[in-house]
Symmetry: C2
Subunit: 341 residues, 2 copies
């Protein structure tokens, strides 16, 4: 059923029907009522592609999700981020266009989205330390919002980020205050901006206290359960092992916990753990008492906020960039305790 057929059915012109459904004031209220009612009954909905073409607005936002670096892992925070963003989009009647690409093709995917005009705006996920994508998208003139940020701020752009440096600096301070001198860092890949900031926070705290920063206490790689386990295990086998771990994701922390148990140590007594918690829906960090002491920030809320900002920028292209840096909560759980002397 297309507009012409539908309008003939009603004995009206396509123009009037389109206006009636579009909420324009030029049609009589009664006519509008008749039209909307008939549309509901016959299931008429304007063809989205045609409407897009005519208005120039795609009514869609592009997300590119890369399947990670070398492995085939897809970052588990995407699901929650998309859920948050999706809430906002669906209220505004926007679609998500998702492009799942292997790491190398990412830039191509962004370029394609921009040049084929299939989206009105773009969300950039997982910014790298030197991220070619940002300059690229800036060139296209398409509105975009970055979840996280990249250090190079050639021209300012919108982003929503957690204050990762501060979060990890506070977490490290906490462990130092508890008397821990040997602290392992289980981090994400260092090409990721957030991982680098977290490491900087960790190093800054250690250096401020005159504690040596040791490379054998640092792991950087994919944040999987497996890697958390393997890295923690290896560090625990060192002649003088860490008494505490600072971990970049709850999933990795669960891996670390496995290694701790396996070494017949007790979490929160023999070994302390502080982790970052993205508050993923299916992986809550305990109910009343948190399992892990954690720096906490909802990735779902970030998704919502990024979407809001982006839709505003799409609606009004002249708006200045919005930059938000969120403070993460530091919550005390059962996984930290004083260092055993």
């Amino acid at each position: 059923m297309n507009l012409r057929e539908f309008s003939e059915l009603l004995g009206l012109s396509p123009t009037t029907v389109s206006r009636a459904l579009g909420g324009y004031p030029e049609v009589k209220e009664e006519t509008r009522r008749k039209v909307t009612e008939a549309a509901r009954q016959h299931g008429y909905k304007p063809n989205r592609r045609a409407a897009s073409l005519a208005t120039g607005r795609a009514m869609a936002i592009g997300h590119v999700i890369p399947t990670s670096l070398n492995h085939e892992m897809v970052n588990p925070v995407f699901a929650d981020f998309l859920a948050g963003a999706g809430e906002v989009y669906s209220k505004a009647n926007y679609d998500i266009i998702l492009s799942v690409v292997s790491d190398g093709d990412e830039v191509r995917a962004y370029r394609q989205m921009a040049s084929t005009g299939s989206v009105d705006g773009i969300i950039v996920h997982g910014p790298r330390t030197n991220d070619a994508r940002i300059a690229l998208i800036q060139d296209t003139g398409l509105p975009f919002v970055v979840h996280g940020r990249a250090p190079v701020e050639a021209a300012p752009y919108s982003f929503v980020d957690v204050d990762n440096l501060r979060a990890f600096r506070r977490a490290t301070d906490l462990l130092l205050d508890l008397g821990h001198q040997r602290i392992g860092l289980l981090n994400g890949h260092l090409i990721m901006d957030f991982a680098r900031r977290r490491r900087d926070g960790y190093c800054a705290a250690l250096e401020a206290r005159g504690t040596t920063v040791r490379s054998e206490f640092q792991f950087a790689g994919e944040m999987s359960e497996r890697n958390g386990y393997a890295a923690a295990r290896q560090m625990l086998r060192l002649p003088s092992p860490p008494t505490a771990f600072l971990v970049s994701s709850l999933i990795m922390a669960i891996g670390a916990r496995r290694a701790i148990h396996e070494a017949d140590l007790t979490l929160g007594r023999d070994v302390s753990v502080v982790t970052h918690d993205d508050m993923l829906g299916y992986l809550s960090n305990g109910d009343d008492v948190p399992i892990f002491t954690a720096t906490r920030s909802s990735v779902r809320a970030a998704g919502r906020r990024c979407a809001e900002i982006l839709l505003e920028q799409v609606a009004d292209r002249t708006l200045p960039p919005v930059q938000e840096i969120w403070e993460s909560e530091l919550i005390m759980g059962a996984s930290t305790g004083p260092a055993l002397s």
Copy 2:
């Protein structure tokens, strides 16, 4: 840059340029070379919406992901499923149109996708026992593939599913063979088709051996870490607690493991666990030796296969439905052992 401008630039007609880029045989090879080269250089790409409108093909597949039942959880398998499907789509130059909706609006989302013609086909996720969506989509005439299946088979449709009943029957048999008499089931919501089939497999195995099926040994709900923990804890506190658990997802099993540790019991000795493992990228079930004994089937592979089938059906609407039921592997890990008498 649009086709008209671009073709004027080249001194050719829009038709010829379109044909050259489309790979039609009516243009001279040399002309085609010139055109593609210029397109690359000037960054010309046909506008997707316009092309769609002209050809009638949307070059997009719709996925609807519901944020689960009562809670705000979004199923973590989506990310991996989408990654698998995305591999196939991007090769075929198809987009994913994602609609994230809260549970109630799901049907509306499907109807909308179908009637606005923004997609060429649909993937249905997480079929329920009585699923209205399937009949609805069948009505629209749009090709679709179900990941999983629903019991009502009014008219046959395409699906890819794991043989859940058989998998859980085998797993239960394994535990029974090890001497376990009291086996807890930590399952998903029973309105989900897969959960019901798994329960049926569990019950069938118990009944075949004359073992009583007890309701206090069955939990059905959201498959989160938290629920796995809470349900296992509660069952372990029963006067005569289970000596083994059968769990529907690795995340839930990790929750159960936490409860087991907390009760000062040892996994694989005091309490056995068999779980289903979707092989999510970030949550591997151990490396060489699996942590958990598990029924295993890759959700990513399922995503790939569903996408393949769907694209075939889109290309040729007359194709008969494809129904695949995959056998899951039963792999032996360190979480199962003989029942302590």
